[in-house]
């Protein structure tokens, strides 16, 4: 099971956090601080798995963003490494070549895509087509539901 997933920049700024276990806010902050420091100081050829407390951390860097998730120690590490990759692929497909800014400005979309992939810390759907289809269906709903107007377009709403 996955306990949480974090996305953070090279400066250690958290871009997305998703927790699948109940953790106090204070503790979350501490965990994020600790893990960003650990991962950012690792060299590139090192292995993608870290034993940390009673969990295993699986992480990978994509351009300026680090993706990392915490899993139970007896889980299959490579499988979660590819879960991360699948998530990156989905973001990339959805945002048409994703960059850090996309995730900052559309953080809610990044959450929704993750929710399709993983639920309660377990893999829900692995098909890229299936997930993209449901996200696009959401967008169509959004478009139909959103009032279009001058003020809104210019951020004056």
């Amino acid at each position: 099971m996955m306990h949480f997933m974090l996305l953070f920049s090279r400066q250690g700024k958290i871009r997305l956090q998703k927790w699948y276990v109940a953790v106090l806010d204070k503790v979350k902050k501490k965990i994020m601080r600790e893990l960003t420091t650990i991962i950012l100081t690792r060299q590139s050829k090192m292995c993608s798995f870290i034993e940390w407390k009673d969990l295993k951390i699986v992480y990978k860097r994509y351009a300026s963003l680090h993706f990392c998730c915490a899993i139970d120690p007896d889980e299959n590490e490579l499988m979660y490494l590819e879960v991360i990759h699948r998530y990156v692929e989905l973001l990339d497909r959805y945002f048409e070549s994703v960059c850090e800014l996309d995730i900052i400005f559309n953080f809610e979309k990044a959450y929704f895509i993750l929710d399709e992939l993983i639920m309660g810390g377990e893999i829900q759907e692995t098909s890229k087509i299936g997930i993209i289809r449901s996200i696009e269906a959401q967008d169509e709903l959004q478009q139909a539901e959103t009032p279009q107007g001058f003020f809104e377009d210019y951020g004056l709403g």
Partner: protein, 930 residues
Amino acid sequence: MMPAVRGDGMRGLAVFISDIRNCKSKEAEIKRINKELANIRSKFKGDKTLDGYQKKKYVCKLLFIFLLGHDIDFGHMEAVNLLSSNKYTEKQIGYLFISVLVDSTSDLMKLIIQSIKNDLSSRNPVHVNLALQCIANIGSKEMADSFGNEIPKLLVSGDTMDTVKQSAALCLLRLFRTQPDVIPSGEWTSRIIHLLNDQHMGVVTAACSLIDALVKRNPDEYKGCISLAVSRLSRIVTASYTDLQDYTYYFVPAPWLSVKLLRLLQNYPPPDDPGVKGRLNECLETILNKAQEPPKSKKVQHSNAKNSVLFEAISLIIHSDSEPNLLVRACNQLGSFLSHRETNLRYLALESMCLLATSELSHEAVKKHQETVINALKTERDVSVRQRAVDLLYAMCDKTNAEEIVQEMLHYLETADYSIREEMVLKVAILAEKYAADYTWYVDVILNLIRIAGDYVSEEVWYRVIQIVVNREDVQGYAAKTVFEALQAPACHENMVKVGGYILGEFGNLIAGDARSTPIIQFRLLHSKFHLCSPMTRALLLSTYVKFINLFSEIKGDIQEVLKADTNIRSADAELQQRASEYLNLSRMVSQDVLATVLEEMPPFPERESSILAKLKKNPWRQGDTEHKESKMPPAIMNHTNDIKGGVAADDILDFKASAPIPDRQGDQNILHDVFSSISNGPQAAHLPSTSHVDNLNKFVCKNNGVLFENDIIQIGIKAEFRQNLGRLGIFYGNKTTMPLQGFSTQISCSGSLALKLMVQAKPVDPVIEAGAQIQQLVNVESIDDFKEHPGLVVTFMYSAVQQRLDLKLPVTLNKFFEPTEMNSESFFSRWKILSTPSQESQHIFKATKPMDPEATANKLTGFGMQLLPNIDPNPDNFVCAGIIHSRNQQVGCLLRLEPNKQAQMYRLTIRASKDTVAGSLLELLYPEF
């Protein structure tokens, strides 16, 4: 610059995010945020009702502000309002806000649950999925109570859409983890299992995780899943990569599902059905074969996906431990990964091989790779890979290669990372002990450990070397000689002084004949270290010195000088002062004979499992030992594995101190007793693992109130009262930390036959204990019949994101249901005579473990629940008691006689009872009290 907002998102939000990013300083950012917060607050408070879109936008802004790390204390109600919107995107933002910002104790939970209820029964599947996601996100007990009935129906209904089934399976899994009884059994079982046959691969993937968790709880009920999982796996493994369409990932058919299925099968022994077993073996062979094929793509994703399946298949092969052919193939495959250029593969191969090494069938095959592993230890750049190499070396070690492996580990230890030194020291110490053909080698290794990594040599390690030297006559002379040499080093570690001091104090006489190590030289050598040492080590050295007085009377004068020195006899340290003055008086007052008796050589320690091993075992999954393998399996089928260790369970060691050998001594005087106990202090403590908690179960035999358990996080106290066959316990759980304990729950149970003999009813407890607060739980008990075991108390809670579990026992014992009974001498003796068959009587003669104080004894007997009957026994020193044990089924009359013998420091305890076995049970409870 702002990137395009996808799917016609909220412009206003994008502008705000852009503003924040343009802020040049932290202050500017805070200013901008405060401005926005004020704006949103006024919008929410304003008379003008906001439309759904605006609410959504503001809630989303709040969410963004929160995710930046700022506190948000409003907007929750507006988010909850969004849930009841008809518009999907408004609902979606509402649910997102709730999943990120609302905790399970919120006052709004009732409203949220109502909205979830509506969405769950919606005909629109995307609404149902939002509701399921929210339930899974919160995952509280309240959610389990509210929706535990609905979700299983969604999961197995024929009308449910596939995407909803997927969410329902994982939502149910989440609730099951919170509250295991949420899953109905019986007819549901087979319907849930059959999800493995579902046409939709996504449904199978989600269901597989759920079934895996259910199997772990109840392997028998779900064993029907074995054949389904095997056929599903077989279909995937033999599929071409085009068959599974989008479930093929970089030319690997359904890797995630394959891994899940292979993991599911690791909950069981190899299938009984020969057909199923054959098919499974075929799958495993195919997976191993595919590993040999040339890659279909150069992308790392291809090899990762393929290897994730391969590693899981190897785990299953190791778990089954029954097919030598597969085990050897697995080992060869892993061997080739050991020198792969991908660090990840080297890491995983080392990890996997650790398990292989524990199988008798593949142990030899693993040993072939010893050189590569040793090389990894020397050349890997990543400490986590080196750590794995250490684990593997430890696991592959046996009699034939122990010397070489220990040598390599010692060598590595000199430069090893600080983070793994202590564990390495433990491992080296264990290997050296386990495989020592010659104990001189063992002594050398341990002294080397102290020399190389003295700071990391824990008490367990140096206590253990002393125990072994004391127990093995053949090595004592060598040990004395070697420590003497080691102590010559100008800067030797304090642990070396401790071991040296202890060993020379016991066996220094064995090397005293050598002109280079005469008594006075030994003494001066040790004493040259004295002033550099901590008080604890000095105390140990003082004991060594007084032992020297006995061994070498010729240096008595020199030693007395040291004892007399102001720094000792007037030391600020009470222990040192006491030892110095007691030893000095001892050496002055008593004859050489008495001295020889008091200070005789330590008797052998009882052989039991090394306390070092116990310490290592506490590290739950980093050890490369058989436990790793066992921990993956549910208890129901644990018997399947060979018990390779055989040793004594670690917890057994806890109660050792009470039964530690107290050497026989004649002419005991108080002062002498003291001398001895302080000398034997070190090695005795070696049997106590370094736990940081207090478990006081045994203290409750003769009292009803007190602290049952305590560690750094929690204190558990008990207040109990009993009348006739009924009892009532108040259990007090106190949070000692500055954070609330979440998800707090307790489970009180009577296992096995105890369930028929004792009724226990516990009131529910609050799920949260606030920082520093205490909550109370009331428990009612009724004794049905006489019993021996304690009811179990399992306490679970979350503390700093970590699930904590305490397995305790409740102090409810048979004697609690005593009613004290008055009787005169005549009726006592007549009853005593009536209860004269051997099965009615139980007797035990034992050494006193506590001071023999008549008043304390009387208090204990009264506390035990019996009536103390004075003036009945002709010997006034003896104690006589009577009482009746109540239970629903019967009353049992009990008589007791306790005869202390002060000279011998012994007791004789006799109990007679009108029901067989009761006397024995009472005796077991009572005698450790004295």
